[in-house]
Amino acid sequence: MKITKQQSGDILVVGVSGELDHHSSALLKSEIGAELDKGGVRHIILDLRELTFMDSSGLGVLLGRYKELGKWQGKMLAFGLQPVVEKMFRLTGLNQLIPVHPDLASCYKALGV
């Protein structure tokens, strides 16, 4: 799994590529945690275009970060889901907490940028 991070204003865009499972979820947790600890991040946009696999461990780590953002009413959005990842989002109801958008521009728009 590879993670990229890019911040513009108070929005952090996190790109996750490869496979998100129990083994790799710890890294995603600490990478996002490090950015949140610095302060200055309000919302997170997940760029999942290159994510080819996700199981319930991925669900857990995303939910955990979603809850952290909730402490300051921050939002988490996602875009670029491959069918297999989208299926997990739908099946688990994660899409009701983390809205899925077609692209980055539409995520920014939803955040009022």
Binding site: E19, H22, G64, M88
Partner: protein, 152 residues
């Protein structure tokens, strides 16, 4: 139904073996030429069961996981994932959506629900103190049903 192929694999319960287990089962299933969607569903279900063995069965302290796969003449894949860890006290409760004993580890209790959704059948046999056996089956389509691409 006649068995057409099979294998058994024993791996240590290391988290780095989760992706290995998924890929091995997917490669085995791929000989039928199933759809990409079917392969992804099998991979996800295997990942759930193997991760449960590592986290819950063995409490991330190691141990062994035995994976047995069988293909039958009717294109049914059977995957058995076995651990000799702590076992499950209340099976019915464990299989309920959103039930988890480890919210502290950011688990959300969706593993069994995902397995049930992605496979045709899931049965769980477990005894406290002895371990857990998860048996899953799925009927796969074959290439004859219309040239699919496969992906590992």
């Amino acid at each position: 139904m006649e068995v057409t192929n099979y294998f058994t694999l024993t791996i240590p319960a290391y988290s780095r073996n989760e992706s290995f287990a998924r890929v091995v089962v997917a490669a085995f299933a791929a000989q039928l030429d199933p759809t990409l969607e079917e392969i992804n569903e099998v991979k996800t279900a295997v990942s759930e069961a193997v991760t449960n063995a590592i986290i819950h069965g063995y409490g991330e302290k190691g141990g062994e996981i035995v994976i047995t796969c069988t293909l039958r003449a009717d294109n049914t894949l059977e995957v058995i994932i076995k651990d000799t860890g702590v076992g499950i006290e209340d099976l019915e409760q464990a299989r309920e959506p959103l039930f988890t004993t480890r919210p502290d580890l950011e688990r959300s209790g969706m593993g069994f629900t995902v397995m049930e959704e992605f496979m045709d059948s899931v049965s769980v046999d477990s005894k406290p103190g002895q371990g857990t056996v998860v048996t899953m089956t799925k009927k796969l389509s074959t290439g004859e049903q219309g040239g699919h691409e496969t992906n590992l």
